[in-house]
Assembly symmetry: C2
Amino acid sequence: MLGLMQDWPLLCHKVIDHAATFHGGREIVSRSVEGPIHRTNYHDLRLSALQVAKRLDAYGIRQGDRVATLAWNTWRHMEVWYGLLGIGAIYHTVNPRLFPEQIAWIINHAEDRMVFVDLTFVPVVEKIIGELTTVEQVVVLTDADHMPDTSLPNVIDYESWKAEADSDFAWKEFDENSAAGMCYTSGTTGEPKGVVYSHRSNIIHSLAAAATDMLNASARDRIMPVVPMFHANGWSLAFSAPMTGAAMVMPGARMDGASIYDLLETEKVTMTAAVPTVWLMLLQHLEQTDANLTSLERVVIGGSACPRAMTKAFQDRYGVQVLHAWGMTEMSPLGSFCSLKPEYADLKGDALLDIQEKQGHPPFTVEMKITDDDGVELPWDGKTFGRLKVRGPAVAESYFKGAGGDILDDEGFFDTGDVSTMDKYGYMQITDRSKDVIKSGGEWISSIDLENLAVGHPDVAEAAVIGVEHPKWDERPLLVVVRKDGRETEKQAILSFMEGKIAKWWMPDDVVFVDEIPHTATGKIKKTTLRDQFKDYRLPTA
Amino acid sequence: MLGLMQDWPLLCHKVIDHAATFHGGREIVSRSVEGPIHRTNYHDLRLSALQVAKRLDAYGIRQGDRVATLAWNTWRHMEVWYGLLGIGAIYHTVNPRLFPEQIAWIINHAEDRMVFVDLTFVPVVEKIIGELTTVEQVVVLTDADHMPDTSLPNVIDYESWKAEADSDFAWKEFDENSAAGMCYTSGTTGEPKGVVYSHRSNIIHSLAAAATDMLNASARDRIMPVVPMFHANGWSLAFSAPMTGAAMVMPGARMDGASIYDLLETEKVTMTAAVPTVWLMLLQHLEQTDANLTSLERVVIGGSACPRAMTKAFQDRYGVQVLHAWGMTEMSPLGSFCSLKPEYADLKGDALLDIQEKQGHPPFTVEMKITDDDGVELPWDGKTFGRLKVRGPAVAESYFKGAGGDILDDEGFFDTGDVSTMDKYGYMQITDRSKDVIKSGGEWISSIDLENLAVGHPDVAEAAVIGVEHPKWDERPLLVVVRKDGRETEKQAILSFMEGKIAKWWMPDDVVFVDEIPHTATGKIKKTTLRDQFKDYRLPTA
């Protein structure tokens, strides 16, 4: 027996309809790539998106076609986003910070038919246009007056292109499981893999993410998504803000401390979200200028672990609540928020910061478990760590074109590649990446914990820990250290410093000193290179 | 092209799994029907629900089978609710306040196989058991010690019945469009009609209803659903509380002011929800005992319009925020909340109360329009009123067994039977029921507006307005008045009092004085009876 409720497919363009109908006057304020501040609202944005949809349809973009954007967060990016969604085409937000050859590879793999590109990234597209095998048309997200001299063939400015249609158009209707958007993961190993969101998954994810204990998004909010729309589905904000009627403040191309601060204050932003690097720049700016945050109420910090000092600075010095969050491209992307359950709600000072170092708990629709390498579930005691696996309607089942093969376990859980603990109240804390954890005699040692401890030594500038082959224990930790300029510390001093602060069997078997530790483009330690470098290293204990 | 996200059906029992996993220790506190306070938590409630599911399965209850409950809000009702959901059976919450013959008719129409009944309502079931054609088993929601002497055949107490199974059971999996629950509307005319919720509709509805600008439900909340689970799907609270990890405080059979106050205070309730009648009793109790509300933060008021004085008392005197809400059984049931958008957020005093008289705006997933009798959409100017129509994934498409036929318009909207305005910011305000509105020369006059105005006269105890046949205008308003004891006011005095406060053509064509106005069981004016009474009345203007 079936329920007798209406068949109302969960389609993403219904979000902008809702925003235009019930929150039509609410603003979308953008710092344009050209420079000036631009203002529109949900009512007008919807009309522009309908115009884009009509123009795309007239051009021949059809349901299921992929279209790339290389663009900052602006109202034009939002127009293209909803215009594509409204005809069943697929927004493919490309990270313009990748190497040009990676961008070309990704666009070809996705078989994008068009590229919408910000002025900033025209040179990138010029560099790769010869290699793009499926792109028919490039549109530069500007107006005729600001069109640059460009070597791109068959190119047009967005405003002229859009003006060839009016907004007298009706959204198309289709199955809610239709593809809505794509985002490639830039894995440290192997080719990038495409995650394909559906209309259904985006809607369910945004409903769950907007909840009081998660984003807590309200029509009274003015939300600034500093996290770019091309980073992990834009953390859902391009959906969850209009869904709740929150105003949007879009930072465009400028994410330095001064520019972000300027928008936070002049546009009375109440909530914002980005990676720690952005907030480091803002906090430095605040300190240098002795400025305050007068309207900001809360900041969502994710993408990598939020340092304790950052949480402390925001909360104690500037009165801004920090929401530590975790997710990944494969999760649409939001997986957990460190909002306070009643068991922790009355904590203060260091005890509160202890909890806020955790990545938190998931909303309904995200299931979690931690397991050992054999898939056996591990206890939720806040200490035992294991592979973090997730399941839910907005979690990837497979990658585009079957890349990576079968990615779910027997129970349908996706292995996040993160290693974490779960505490008794269901708070998750990432302790390592599963490929970096050191497996010593069947037990796991967190490389990150050892690194964090080692850099506490006054003579250590940077530290990395990798597992090195060991005849008895399979793997044992090797500590790789860069000394601070002019320091002469030796192995024993470092080990003595660590002793007593960790379990005996976690102690590194050796310490080596190097001039430099290799890094990725985004500043993370490149452990693959380091492991290559030390793959024949013979530990003194071996 | 389809999205590549996991197939994770939206099933209601996943809500209790989530609550047990991430909010396991959070309490469900109930005033038992037997008297004492009972305490459990989500972890244990889930185990009990599994036990119920296993017991039902062993008995032979199958997917799609209907099972009735005649029960107050208690932990046992929640156990049965989730036990049924977890095997794909259908909770049919019957309103025990209906006449026994109506209850029998509804249970037979639904073809319920079992009845779970609270001690309070055993006499009701005894009265009708001979007429129940499909019920095989009655279970009394108590333990062996409290079983009453009863004439019911084949009856057992709940705890003994449940103890015949353990909790080693796995929920069943099925299509998310499967029926989950049933609730009959007690229409003032015609037979009751069954609304059939699906698992999908319940989940989407609860996600939308829990949002910050709607219920604003959080794990830090302690929610007391005074609204019974048998009233309009329990306003979603049996889902939205565990979904967000909020504790629940269940009032059982006692809803008088003193009992409600006692639970609000001793259990530190932060949010509660019920119809105005309940809050009238509480406010009277507070006034009589000169008491305060020390933990309550907000109260959701719906079911019928929340009087302005009630909002004022809660907010100004007791510091409790009022959330005026609207919905109906056919909408799962929540349709709108009067939370404040930025355009109204700074209002104070009377200006704020003016807005809070409105029923508010819908969450994403609820679409609204107002139309005239021909289906033409009317402007959102806050003045023009028309038939309120709604569409969405948790709005009824049809009734059980096709009762009432096709209930949607050409665009798939359901006519709520309410007449309302919409203002420019998307706030809806109910002005009348469409069958009560007076249609004068093609224009509509709100009977409720005239009634509210007339009772403002110092000599009027109660007033009702109905439309009476008129040769020129089709219908004209007749004002029916009950005078206060000993007052002698006449027609002209009342009309003079109303003059200038409404449009001229809204003025009643006549006033008649009666000793009594007929009421329904729930205290509403019975306009059908009144219209019958005056169906041959000849207006002086006719």
